[in-house]
Amino acid sequence: MGQAGGRTLAGPAPTGVLDDATLVVRAREGDLAAFEALVARYQRRIYQLALRMTANSGDAEDITQEVFLIAWRRLPEVEQAAAFSGWLYRTATNRCLNLLRRRKPLGELDEESMATSTPSADPQRAAQASAQVAALTEALQRITPEQRAVWLLREAHDRSYEEIARIVGTSPQAVRGRLARARAQLAELMSSWR
């Protein structure tokens, strides 16, 4: 008999197309392939949130790894299996905010968080996008971590006001206020770019 992942005996299950709730229930019962599919599905989004929050690739990597390990340990406590992504975002945001509270304001921005160019069919456009992301990443470090979290969750990760309120522990109304302040300050910071 193979591992609980079941690959040796039964061949790979089509875990890539399964919904979160199904994967969470399976992972909770020790199905490693199901948990691996969840990590594969969300690692990019959680890493990018952590990278834009901390502007440090090492911190982002540590936080992403921790978030998924905590997820594995706490799977039995995730009551609503379909709410798994919200749980991941909440845990990741809290880990980022905790780290930033311990860190001096305007910590070092490392090269990876600023240099974001990738191969592209249109190098000029890719370079422009890369420079814009770098400028925005820098501007994000100049607003408060709480505003940054709200702005990233809403604008870059498309989470609802209600969900963001649960993630940062406030009301949807307060989230709207914080988002408006973040947008205004980011626009001011970006107005002097280039």
């Binding site: 992942g5 079941g6 039964a10 019962e29 199905d31 490693l32 422009q128 992301v133 408006a180 107005s191």
Partner: protein
């Protein structure tokens, strides 16, 4: 672009606000004042820069390090607790198999039925009948009509029992199925 956030919204020295500039940028409709005002022009530039950069960020090319997934899974495997085991019929000595591993095989068999996604799976030995087991499985099922569900469940029972016998070597005397979720989209779609 000097901001006065003590007034309603984020006021500009001209009496306008950043919120108004955001709103105009969204609709593409600019007032005469906004078009002629230097403060609004600076705010407009900031808003447009932010909007463009936000679009670029939505396509964020930053990727997690290639080894991250493996490191997570290595740590997870180290913490994996093997649960119950099932005794297997054996000639030369005791043999057993992890219930978790059997559940993976049975879910895979159930998943083979179009429109079925297996969720929880519990396999218990029949204490009075060596080599026999009872199976309880939860299913998320694509719902088309009341007519399509019973044959779907029959097929799941048949495949699960066959996998138990053919791949594990135990006889399923009972396969209890529970529909825990219904969905009407294609696989990969959201549950309803």
């Amino acid at each position: 672009m000097a901001l006065d956030s003590t007034v309603q919204g984020h006021g500009l020295p001209c009496g306008g606000s950043v919120e108004e500039v955001f709103a105009s940028a969204e609709t593409g409709r600019w007032t005469e004042h906004q078009l002629g005002c230097e403060h609004c022009a600076v705010a407009r530039r900031g808003v447009e820069m932010l909007n463009e950069a936000t679009l670029a960020l939505l396509d964020d090319p930053a990727e997690p390090p290639p080894g991250l997934l493996d490191r997570v899974m290595t740590a997870v495997r180290a913490e994996l607790r093997r649960g119950d085991t099932l005794d297997l019929p054996a000639l030369l000595g005791p043999a057993s198999v992890s219930s978790q591993a059997v559940a993976v095989v049975l879910r895979w068999a159930a998943d083979g039925v179009p429109g079925v996604r297996a969720r929880h799976c519990r396999v218990e030995a029949d204490p009075e009948n060596p080599g026999a087991v009872g199976i309880r499985m939860g299913l998320s099922v694509r719902y088309e009509s009341t007519a399509t569900v019973p044959p779907m469940l029959d097929e799941v029972r048949r495949r699960v029992a066959a996998a138990m016998a053919g791949q594990v070597g135990l006889v399923a005397t009972r396969v209890d199925l529970e529909m825990v979720d219904l969905w009407d989209a294609e696989p990969g779609g959201e549950s309803t």
